[in-house]
C-alpha cells in the first residue's frame, strides 16, 4: 500500500490557485444580486468644522438616483445612540465613526453623503452634484505641531502594566552620561496599506432584521459583531462573507464608515448596495501606518557592550479614536542592555484613525532601533553583525524568562553567508560598480508568536471528502492551503480529499487574520478538529462497523484513508464506509492555549534581513540589488507559500524604505498624495531576487504544530537593513523615510 506523502512543509500549490488564475475567485464587489444598486460617497473638503448646509436637490433629481443620504435624513441607527459616556473623552480604538450621525467634520474627506443609484455611472455623477457648505474650525494636521500636545494613551494611564506604559529597567536615560553614545531622531511618514482591491462592500438586507454583507474584512466575526451591534440585531441575523480578500495588510482589521454607509444605503433603498471606495478615499477612510517620530539614545562600552538605550516615540492618532501600537516592544527585549527606558506617546490630529499596517508598530520601531544599532556599531568601528552578536540575549531581558525558542543566531549565520557579508567594508563609500556605489546593511525583526482561540468543524462526507470550516479569512498568505496540509497529515488523507472553507461568519468562530497568528491559532484548531474527527471515526467503527465488531476503540488505527485493526491486514475499511451506518461523522472543536507556557516562556518569531544596495553616485537613485531574509518562524507548513510571504514582506519593506510617503498639505489639512501616481509602491522593476531561509525548527510551546508566524517579521527590519546599506554605500545617514533621490543627491 502506498503511504501518503507528508504534506506539512511541502511546497504544495495553493488550493484556490485555479480560482485565482481564471478570474473565478469572487471578491466583495463581485457578487450578483437581483436589484443591485451602487453607492458612491461624497467626502468633506475641510478637515474640521460643521456642515452648515448641504444641498442634495440636484443629486436627488439626477437620472437613476434612488437616494441621497446625509446626516439630515439618515435613518436612526440604533448603535449610534449616545452611550452615556462623557462625549468629551475620546473612545478607545475599535468603534467606527458614526456616519451621517451629526454635522461634525473630523477629518478631510470624511464621508458626508452617500448617493445610491441604479448604475455606477449615475451614482458617481450624482455624487458630484452634492454641495456642502461648512462652518470651518482651525484644524491641526501637522505632526510637528501636534506632537507638542502628545499624551500617554488612556490605556496606559489607567493601567501602568500596559505595554504602552513607560518602561524602565536599570537607570533612566543612562546613556546621557556615557562617553560612547549616540542620540538621534528618526521619522516614519504616514504610509498607506493600499491593497490592490480597494475597500468594497455589498450590503443586502434579506429581511428587515436580517443583513448579509459581502465585505472586505480580515475578521468575519468581528465585523459581524460590529454591525449587529450597530443595528441592534442578534449576531445570528448578520452574515459576513469574505471568501476572497484582495489584500489588506491590516486595513481591514477595523470597521470603517463606508461599511456603515452601504448598510444604511441598502436599508433606505430596499435594494442591495455595492460600494467600492476610490483610490483617493483609500487614503482618507480606511486607516494607515501613523506618522511616527522617534528618538533613540544609546551608549556602549568600547568593546561593544550596550550599556543603555532610551527609545521614545510619538505616533499620530485621530481626535475621535485612540490608536496605539507596539512601536517600542522590540527595543525592550532584543538586546542585552542593563539600562533601558521606553516612552510611548500619541498625538491627536484632525485626521482619520490609523490602523495597524503590516509589521505594525514593530516595523516602525525597528527602523529606529536597527538604524541606531548601525550608527552605534559605526561609532565603535565594529561590524554591525558582530555588534549585535555581542549584545545577543539568551533570555528575555524584559520579562526575565527563557525564550520558548530562539534561533536568531542561526539566521544571522545563514543570512551573512548568503548575502556575502564578508564583501562589506566597514568604511562607507568603499565599494563601487561603475556609477553605482554599493553597500550592505542588516536589520533585525521580531514579533510575538501569538496564539488565540478558534473553533473549527470537521465533517466526513459520503464521498470520502472531509470538509473543515472556520470563519477565519485569507487575505493572501494561503490560509486554506496551509490548513489543508495540516488536515491531510492529521487525518491521513490526500489533500484532494480535504476541503477547507473559510471567510464566512456562519462558520465556527475565530479571530481576525492579523498579528501573524492565523496558523498558530487556526492551524492548531484544524489539527485538533481532525484528531477529534479521527476519534469519532474510531468510535463509529468500534460501535457498528462489522469489520471491527469485536474491536475496542483504541485498537482502531487510521492512516492513508483507511481504518485498520492491529496487524490484521484484511480488516481495512475506507473512512467513508462508516457513513453507511447510523451516527454522524461531524465534530466541532474549540482550540486555545492551555497550560502556562505563556507565563513561563517569552514567545517570539525572529528575522534578519540583509540588503545589498546600489546608489547612483550622481542621481541618488537607489536600487536594492539583493535581499536575503532569514526567519526563525517555527515549523513551516508550506515552503512555497511561506517563502512567497517572506518575499512579499521584503517588497513591502522596500516600499517603506525607498518610496512610500503620504503627504498632507497642512494649509488645507488634505492629502496631496491621492493615487498611485504620487504615492508610489514598489513595481516589478523595484523588486530584486529575495533569497529566503527558514530555520524551520518547531516551537512546541506555542502549539503542537510548532509554528510561530511569518507575516510581520517578513517586513520588520527590512527598511533599516536598506537604510543601513545606503549609509554603507554612501556615508549618508537618512533618518527620515522614505529615502528618495532628493535626500541623497
Amino acid at each position: 500500500m502506498k503511504t501518503l506523502d507528508k504534506q506539512i512543509g511541502a511546497p504544495m500549490n495553493r488550493v484556490d490557485g485555479h480560482q485565482k488564475v481564471t478570474g473565478a475567485a469572487k471578491y466583495s464587489a463581485e457578487y450578483e444580486l437581483p436589484g443591485m444598486s451602487y453607492g458612491v460617497l461624497v467626502g468633506s473638503t475641510i478637515a474640521k468644522g460643521r456642515i452648515a448646509h448641504i444641498d442634495t436637490k440636484a443629486a436627488v433629481g439626477a437620472p437613476g438616483v434612488l437616494a441621497v443620504i446625509t446626516h439630515l435624513n439618515s435613518p436612526q441607527v440604533p448603535g449610534f445612540k449616545p452611550t452615556g459616556k462623557d462625549p468629551s473623552q475620546p473612545q478607545t480604538v475599535g468603534g467606527p465613526l458614526k456616519i451621517f450621525h451629526d454635522d461634525k467634520v473630523r477629518f478631510n474627506d470624511q464621508p458626508i453623503a452617500l448617493v445610491v443609484a441604479d448604475t455606477f455611472e449615475r451614482a458617481r455623477y450624482a455624487a458630484r452634484l452634492v454641495m456642502a457648505h461648512y462652518t470651518q474650525e482651525t484644524h491641526q494636521t501637522n505632526m510637528a505641531a501636534g506632537a507638542k500636545d502628545a499624551f500617554l494613551p488612556t490605556s496606559a494611564q489607567k493601567n501602568p502594566k500596559s505595554p504602552m506604559a513607560d518602561y524602565q529597567r536599570g537607570q533612566a536615560d543612562a546613556y546621557k552620561t556615557a562617553a560612547l553614545k549616540i542620540e538621534q531622531e528618526y521619522v516614519i511618514p504616514t504610509e498607506m496599506h493600499h491593497p490592490m482591491e480597494m475597500q468594497a462592500i455589498t450590503a443586502h438586507w434579506e429581511a428587515p432584521d436580517r443583513l448579509t454583507i459581502y465585505d472586505k474584512t480580515q475578521g468575519t466575526i468581528g465585523t459581524r459583531r460590529d454591525f449587529a451591534k450597530e443595528w441592534n440585531l442578534p449576531e445570528a441575523n448578520v452574515q459576513v462573507i469574505a471568501t476572497f480578500v484582495g489584500g489588506a495588510f491590516g486595513n481591514a482589521l477595523h470597521s470603517w464608515p463606508h461599511e456603515s454607509a452601504a448598510i444604511i444605503g441598502a436599508k433606505v433603498v430596499g435594494r442591495p448596495v455595492k460600494l467600492m471606495l476610490t483610490r483617493e478615499q483609500m487614503f482618507t477612510q480606511v486607516g494607515y501606518r501613523p506618522y511616527t517620530w522617534q528618538k533613540v539614545g544609546m551608549s556602549a562600552t568600547a568593546d561593544g557592550k550596550i550599556t543603555a538605550i532610551t527609545h521614545e516615540s510619538i505616533g499620530q492618532t485621530s481626535t475621535y479614536e485612540e490608536f496605539t501600537e507596539s512601536t517600542l516592544a522590540q527595543t525592550r527585549m532584543m538586546y542585552q542592555s542593563p539600562n533601558l527606558t521606553t516612552r510611548y506617546r500619541i498625538a491627536a490630529l484632525d485626521v482619520g484613525t490609523p490602523i495597524w499596517m503590516r509589521g505594525p508598530g514593530e516595523a516602525t520601531g525597528a527602523f529606529a532601533l536597527e538604524s541606531a544599532m548601525d550608527e552605534m556599531a559605526y561609532l565603535l568601528k565594529l561590524d554591525p553583525l558582530e555588534f549585535r552578536l555581542r549584545n545577543y540575549t539568551d533570555q528575555d531581558p524584559e520579562k526575565n524568562r527563557p525564550w520558548s525558542t530562539k534561533f536568531l543566531k542561526e539566521c544571522y549565520r545563514a543570512g551573512a553567508e548568503r548575502i556575502g557579508w564578508t564583501k562589506r567594508k566597514l568604511e562607507p563609500g568603499a565599494l563601487r560598480d561603475g556609477d553605482w556605489l554599493v553597500g550592505y546593511g542588516m536589520g533585525v525583526g521580531t514579533f510575538g508568536a501569538h496564539r488565540g482561540a478558534a473553533h473549527v468543524s470537521a465533517q466526513l462526507l459520503p464521498n470520502g471528502t472531509v470538509v473543515l470550516q472556520c470563519a477565519t479569512t485569507d487575505i493572501g498568505p494561503g490560509t486554506g492551503t496551509a490548513m489543508t496540509q495540516i488536515a491531510a497529515d492529521t487525518l491521513g488523507l490526500p489533500p484532494e480529499k480535504i476541503r477547507f472553507e473559510l471567510g464566512n461568519s456562519g462558520f465556527p468562530q475565530s479571530g481576525s487574520q492579523g498579528g501573524s497568528s492565523t496558523v498558530n491559532t487556526v492551524g492548531q484548531a484544524v489539527q485538533d478538529a481532525c484528531m477529534a474527527l479521527k476519534d469519532k471515526l474510531r468510535e463509529l467503527a468500534a460501535a457498528g462497523a462489522p469489520a471491527f465488531a469485536s474491536a475496542k476503540k483504541e485498537d482502531v488505527a487510521l492512516a492513508n484513508g483507511y481504518l485498520t485493526l492491529g496487524s490484521n491486514a484484511a480488516t481495512r475499511v475506507p473512512y467513508a464506509d462508516l457513513l453507511k451506518q447510523p451516527g454522524a461523522a461531524l465534530v466541532n472543536v474549540e482550540s486555545k492555549p492551555t497550560g502556562n507556557d505563556g507565563q513561563l516562556y517569552s514567545m517570539y518569531s525572529f528575522s534578519v534581513h540583509f540588503a545589498e544596495v546600489r546608489v547612483h553616485a550622481l542621481t541618488g537613485e537607489v536600487r536594492v540589488s539583493k535581499l536575503v531574509s532569514c526567519a526563525d518562524a517555527g515549523t513551516i507548513i508550506n515552503q512555497k507559500t511561506a517563502a512567497n510571504q517572506m518575499k512579499g514582506g521584503a517588497v513591502g519593506g522596500i516600499g517603506m524604505a525607498l518610496m512610500e510617503h503620504a503627504i498632507i498639505d497642512d494649509r488645507y489639512g488634505r492629502y496631496v498624495t491621492k493615487d498611485f501616481a504620487d504615492y508610489h509602491v514598489p513595481v516589478h522593476a523595484d523588486a530584486p531576487a529575495v533569497e529566503v531561509y527558514f530555520v524551520n525548527q518547531p516551537d512546541l510551546h506555542v502549539n503542537a504544530l510548532g509554528t510561530k508566524g511569518i507575516g510581520e517579521i517578513a517586513t520588520i527590519g527590512v527598511a533599516p537593513a536598506i537604510a543601513n546599506a545606503i549609509f554603507n554605500a554612501t556615508g549618508k545617514r537618512v533618518r527620515e523615510l522614505p529615502i528618495t533621490p532628493d535626500k541623497l543627491v
Binding site: 488564475v21 436637490k57 454641495m131 476572497f244 480578500v245 476610490t278 487575505i475 493572501g476 501616481a677 516589478h684
Partner: protein
C-alpha cells in the same frame, strides 16, 4: 449628412435636448454655490434612460455582444457590471496599477481608461477567455506552479500582461520581464514568483 458622418445611432433632437440639460447641470455643478438649478430636478428619468445609451457591438472572449451603453461607461465597468466578467479587476481606476489589463485585438491595455463605446467592433479577451475550456493556459499553469500571487486580486491583470509580455518578445531576461511587467502592481509583493512563472513559460517554448 452633416460633418459627423459616423455618429452612432440615436442621435436625434430629443437626445440633443437632453444633453443640453445635462450640460447645464454639469456646468452648475462646478460652481460652488448654495443653489444648483432646480431645472436639474425636472429631468425625466425615463427619457434620460432612453437617450443616454448608444449601441455597441463587442466580441468578448469569442462571444458577440450587442449592447446598449452609456458612452461614459468604461470598458472595465462594462465588463464587470454589465457582462459580469468580474475576473478583470478594478485596482485604481486611473491606469496606475494594471489590475484591469485585458487584450483588445490582441494588445494589452488598461480597461479602466477607455470608454467601452470606443471599442465598437473590436475583440476583447479577458482572463475568463484565456483558458481553453478546462485546460488552463500555460501562463495560468505557471502562475499556480510558481505561486505567482497571494491575495489573487492583481493576478488576472498580471497574467494578461504576462501573456502579452511573452508575445511581444519582451521576456528575454529577468530584467526585461521586470521592466515590461512594471505596469502591473502586486501589493502582496509576489513579483519574484511572477517573473519565475513568465520565465518558465518563455523557456518552455509553449505557444502562448
Amino acid at each position: 449628412m452633416n460633418s459627423e458622418p459616423d455618429v452612432p445611432a440615436n442621435h436625434d433632437e430629443n437626445r440633443r435636448t437632453f444633453l443640453k440639460q445635462s450640460s447645464l447641470l454639469t456646468a452648475l455643478a462646478l460652481v460652488p454655490g448654495p443653489v444648483v438649478s432646480a431645472a436639474a430636478a425636472k429631468l425625466d428619468e425615463r427619457v434620460a434612460d432612453a437617450f443616454e445609451k448608444i449601441p455597441l457591438s463587442l466580441k468578448v472572449n469569442g462571444v458577440k455582444h450587442k449592447l446598449s451603453v452609456e458612452p461614459r461607461a468604461t470598458l472595465l465597468d462594462l465588463l464587470r457590471e454589465q457582462l459580469h466578467l468580474t475576473g478583470t479587476k478594478k485596482g485604481c481606476d486611473y491606469g496606475q496599477c494594471g489590475a484591469c489589463t485585458v487584450h483588445v485585438d490582441g494588445q494589452r491595455v488598461n480597461a479602466c481608461l477607455s470608454f467601452a463605446v470606443m471599442h465598437d467592433g473590436q475583440e476583447i479577451t479577458t482572463i475568463e477567455g484565456l483558458a481553453d475550456g478546462d485546460k488552463l493556459h500555460p501562463m495560468q499553469e505557471a502562475f499556480v506552479k510558481h505561486d505567482g500571487f497571494q491575495c489573487g486580486y492583481c493576478t488576472p491583470g498580471q497574467i494578461m500582461s504576462a501573456v502579452a509580455c511573452v508575445r511581444e518578445g519582451h521576456a528575454g531576461s529577468e530584467g526585461e520581464i521586470r521592466e515590461y511587467m512594471s505596469g502591473n502592481i502586486c501589493r502582496c509583493g509576489a513579483y519574484a514568483n511572477i517573473v519565475a512563472a513568465i520565465q518558465d513559460v518563455k523557456q518552455g517554448g509553449q505557444k502562448v
